[in-house]
Symmetry: D3
Subunit: 340 residues, 6 copies
């Protein structure tokens, strides 16, 4: 049985309803989420053991986040407490030609002020088969980056599969370091990476290229370069997203396992109920697929794409769908029939 | 003046809002509806006399359903009271690739435990010109099937036009009988049937075919077979539904009167506000059309399709539109202009 | 460390908001609760290990109840699945001179159709120090009564403390047995009973008396009679409730340990946000007090009364307060000051 | 069987929720009500035949009011259509020391522009046993006053019992006439009047006194003066209201039948959910009591007071309680116990 | 710095939520807006000085409208007070094939009963560079038309640029005059006109034509005719709107400056959150563009079209977007990406 | 004409509705407020010129706060922009025995990181007659304390009346200084102080006493000590608050002008809709009273108490009542009658 541990931040998400702008709202929807936690929820929904490690403030807002983790059946026993506040992000959901807008208010959060040495990773990772982190954690503070690197190193030493979602956020990285100063060391232990080729190159400090994901010739070369730089790399995958409008997306995916390129068919996603967390849904699907369909990279990729598409129909940060629902879509059922 | 009487179940409908999943909902929208009642509301909205006969529990939930019937101007004076509970169905409204999901909780309802002999049909049907029932009633229990058959026989004896919407629901039919054991006798009195050819064949216990509704040659043959089996049949109609996604439907229709085939042009329906009850809206439109435009089967069918399309824009089970609105759409106005 | 296991039903609660009547409501608040589960939540909130055993239907409504249990940190691993439906109760919250109204729709629920033999109680109760049940379970069906008796017997054999909240509900007990036919055998294993003297007498089949809870002379005699009939009894407690109006209650309590009577001071409770579950809050407080303040019956009783009072300020079935909040009130802080 | 017909205005009521001020509200609760209609709802709830006559605009807002009448089981078949608009009133619900605030926007409504001759009162009142009107109708316009007088005269000629609720509203009476110019002729046909003595004197154009409703000596004298001026008068009743705060009222009542004074015990009403329409609830209770308990004036008055008290716990304009609920309160049950 | 003054009516807007019909709504969204005020909000959002002149009733509803103006940073110091009521319009938001429906309830409003002489226009317009009015004001009453003409004449005399949005509303113009009797004199002072050619011809009393907005030959001729009739005309613009459905619009625009025709590319607008006020958003964009990009008519038109498109994604009457958001769309960014 | 300038922080307030606990809430009410801003709103409502100076972040949340200031007619032209975030406080509204709970999340806000020298106080205070600050600003950070002292000194130099609400918050003062290290210098320029005697003594670093506010002998002595320490002091006032429960307060007040003691009668306040900001409402009433009723200290105090009482009925931070409403209550009208 697979057991996945993820490390990252969970935030209070305050969102406007019915496409209202911030200044029109007399109430904000209150939920909880964050990239790495969202991955855990996906995996718990698919029936795997999933544990999330983070740092929470000892107040009622932190306590509410903890209750949400429990509700989602994500193990929370190794969470540490301390610090001042739970990170917040404000979300104004767009429509059509108006994109959604995120206002971050996550500086000085309990997770941003975590330090290495606070988590006993040998104990936490005992029995784990997979460790997941993302590029958001090193983006929030120097000490969070160090705490994350500490975890990565322990996971690597224990022989656990390590995955990273690159997750570049231009509004973060405010503490004085650039991704290329921080990410290369962190990424070298990764076995699975999810991200655009350009983002990967940028984080590794190599010049950007202009990848054509349909070009069967150039693509393996570009991916292979990542394998050259990251010794432990086994799989790289990229979500292909064509944004027709805030309400209409087209989603596909590419996966490279060092030898072959796999493509998933592009699917129409319209309307978009909530696209935040759809990348995490892809990541969750990919981890599920790679760990459960071990010799079938195509199926793993297709599962990730189907999961990502379904996420766009779910309100909130994480992908509240069952294994059966993803499998049904994988099997071709996407006509949205009423089940009765 | 036409007076329509329908017999069936009205339920409490508990629905999630804004595409939330059941487990995300801290409130359920509460409304009332059911296939045959929904037909009555359509007809009352178009200005006909419509009466609904059912059995309600003597508690406040049954009382609330009764108030809703009155609000909709559907006659309720012959409703009988008794039994334990009002049937419930839970509805999770899908979007895009995620279909809506219905969880039935209607077993042991007052209507499911109705028995023949409880309604004085001769008295109820006095003055009625049309009696409507659907395949849902025989699907909920043996005794409901018997009570419905009793009504059908009285209506037939009184010379009243009888219509049936086949309405096959795979999650029902749990009481030990199959449709082909129950439906043939009930259907033989029908003058008007709404349903897919395959569903009709299945319910009549004849082998399924694979009808091509665009094929002018094979179609009359397939429909004619129904006329052969049902001596009183005058009209069969089928709703053509192409489901692009939960949010985008294409709706057309076919009608056969024993002699000629009529086709209605397929219309785009997007977005879908609520597709539950759109079949009942078709049925309501068909009854209106057949009874009011007696010699114009094309107009009757077009009216049914227009009514069905409009229903997709209305929240709740029944088609809360006016005669004028359907007629406007019939007249070509479907651009959704603001009226001001 | 104490570990409490409770057995009973969890229901979907559908409540009107802002004192609306059922027929005025276009939405029902949706939450989950039930007498014995509510006790578990209290104990989990106070920091004890609490587990709830019940039977849930395998549909999304049952799944939502399960998620709520997890959120509340109540262990759910021994829950069994099967049956048709989750029990429902409708709640119309009164105000002033208009009392709240409950419409039960819990017949035929998964818990009502549970049968003995479905739960492996030896395994479930391993390591448990306390088993709790209530008079609701034997009131819903014969087979639920039998399943509950089975659990009680195992708990007794394993030497676990057993508590029972008598919880008489006149709208239940519909299956053909009276409390006095069923309860005496079930109660004989109880070590702790919560309930009115009259209710206890009624359930044990002895003639009702008219207890004066302020009378220090007659009271021990009346309670002692229960000790005579129930060989394992150690503690009986009674919630004293004076209902000024639906919005204003006065709450006190009495406890008898076989030797001495303890009285808790009566507290004013106004306004009442939600009084459903306040008896369960008393029970939860009593179990906490008896198990944690072992030699201080007065403190245990006072804790139960304070917990019960606070519950009236909490929306929903269970007492969402912390140990610290009950202790603060126990310490005299009931002026409702702002904490900032 | 009694059949009551009332004549007056039904309005759209737009109310702020949760004690918000108008300028804080981004939504207004939308319901329908009006003094005379509210009386009809009371009587329909108690099981009598009740019919409401008014004039509605032919637009969707008027149509929504009509649907509400039907929902409440009030006969609407003699309503006439025409005019520009449905009257509106805005309601800001107060609390404690801040009283509720009503902003009228009912000028130029369909009812305000009604004219005599539009209703065929002989036909409408056929079979009626009671006709009810109130001092609001003559307050809104000259032509409404005339239309109301026309109805009163027909009712009187047909020997129907006529009741009037004086209902003085200082913000109305804007069309150039004073109550004492209009009301005396209208009141002379009344058999039952509800109102303060001072209001009655003011409307009849006689000098105000300062009635002491507890003074058994002066009270009959003051009421008798009304009998002297109104030849048909049989019963006068006055609601006694002591306003502790917007959230706390004390309600009693006095009735004089030309011979004896009856007093109802004063009841505490706290909290107040909604006091608008509580006078109409008194009126509805009084009509019920006088028509059903014909020889028991005390019981009729007590019923009216109990109905009035219960109304304060109901949101909206009219008294959504059952006959049984009023009778229970009449029987002494006002402790607000949970029914389960 | 530009300073714009607009004159017109602001109304209370009562809208149904989630596509509900009027009769389904138990609450109406309450906001404030009106054609000319909406233009002011656009301009204030873009950073210009904008002032709105109207007449408000001295009650809390008028006060709430005033607070909304202040919130939107629109100068309100010259508003005059008096009259009976704030105009209201009810809005039922359509979807797909069902168009939105507006029920006006604005007769007898404070603005409708304004009279000339009440505003000191010389003082109000001191320092103003632009005066804006629309065809709605002369449509509501004779006296409003006269008050508007008074303002136009003063503005003209003071040499201020005058713009008019023709805004024909068939449900208005109820006071006995036709547009062609009233509008020609009012329009002769206009420097900028927004409207369809046919509407302009109709209002000027010349026979309707059937303009082909893609025909480079006929179009200048048709527009030139307007220049012939209106001596001060400098710019005419027309919004091109192709309504696929209530949820899907295609928006383009044409501008003629007396010499050349400018076309803006047609943009897809789907889904439509709220199309009310999208014409005002065009007008606001046009005024901004003409006043700020003085020599670039193409850019002015493109800005107006982009602003109009964005408005369809904003709930409420006015275009709550920033200058930067319109500029981004102008720059080609319409893919609705998440900003984070 | 009086012109008041206040300096302090405005926060986003996120509150649970209907007494829900934080962990039960899926939405938070979103409004804006803060002690000194709340005072400004009171004064603007009473018709005075009020200006608020603070520092806001340049994001949409700061922008929304700015829009709220404008809506409330509080001048905002001298607000400065910068810093990271708008301070937040979470509010869980209690009831009865459960007090409200505030969770502060205001560290690192734009106001907390303000520094002296950023505001040009000579220019800001030109024409001002009153400057108001409170003990909250020096409690949030060292630099905010310094910026506030800077403003105080300029105001003093310009001869402007200075008032301070002591506003001690135990959850603040986290930056390493105690009130007695910071407040004495700041307070020495105050002409008006609102606060408990004990709080004042504590902040001035003198030993606490146990004041009896009913003791006419000891009270002048205790207040006089403050006059001795603060050379510019003219008026000290204290709000007397007796907290029966979170839903029931008793409010009175005491004022000392250096010579005489004034007492305001204690008023019952129940129910409490929202008590946050009631102290600010007192302060706002006091400033109004002292500046407008210059020679009538009793009336000024009574006005402050009446304003404070009314605030408890208003949702949100500030006192949204009119001058007329406070005056009515001052005149004895507190029975909460309906105005219609």
């Amino acid at each position: 049985m697979s057991k996945i541990v993820a490390f990252g931040e969970i935030m209070l998400r305050l969102s406007t309803e019915r496409h209202l702008r911030f200044s029109q709202s007399t109430a904000f929807g209150a939920s909880y989420g964050g990239g790495e936690f969202n991955v855990c929820v996906s995996l718990a929904n698919y029936g795997l053991d999933a544990e999330f490690v983070t740092r929470l403030p000892e107040n009622e807002i932190g306590g509410s986040a903890l209750k949400e983790m429990r509700k989602m059946n994500v193990e929370s026993k190794n969470i540490i407490f301390g610090g001042e506040r739970l990170g917040i992000y404000f979300l104004e959901t767009g429509a059509g030609t108006r994109g959604s807008n995120v206002v971050y208010d996550r500086a000085h959060s309990s997770m941003a002020t975590i330090e290495k040495g606070l988590v006993d990773w040998e104990k936490v990772l005992e029995g784990a088969t997979w460790f997941h982190w993302s590029g958001i954690t090193p983006a929030i503070s120097q000490s969070a980056a160090e705490a994350c690197l500490e975890a990565i190193k322990v996971a690597h030493k224990m022989g656990i599969t390590i995955s990273c979602d690159l997750n570049y956020r231009s509004k973060l990285w405010q503490y004085g370091k650039t991704p290329s100063e921080v990410m290369p060391e962190m990424l070298q232990y990764s076995n699975v990476i999810l991200g655009d080729i350009d983002t990967a190159y940028f984080m590794l400090g190599i010049p950007k290229v202009n990848p054509n994901y349909q070009d069967e010739k150039s693509l393996p070369v570009l991916y292979t370069k990542l394998f050259d730089l990251i010794p432990n790399l086994k799989t790289v995958a990229t979500t292909l997203r064509y944004s027709v409008s805030a309400s209409h997306q087209r989603i596909g995916g590419v996966l490279f396992n060092g030898k072959a390129i796999y493509h998933a068919a592009v699917k129409e996603v319209t309307p978009v109920v909530d696209r935040v967390g759809s990348g995490d849904a892809f990541m969750g699907g990919l981890i599920y697929g790679l760990s459960q369909y071990e010799n079938d990279n195509q199926k793993a990729l297709d599962f990730a794409v189907a999961a990502c598409c379904l996420k766009h129909t779910i309100a909130g940060d994480y992908n509240l769908v069952t294994l059966k629902e993803v499998e049904n879509m994988l099997g071709g059922d996407s006509a949205g029939l009423v089940s009765r």
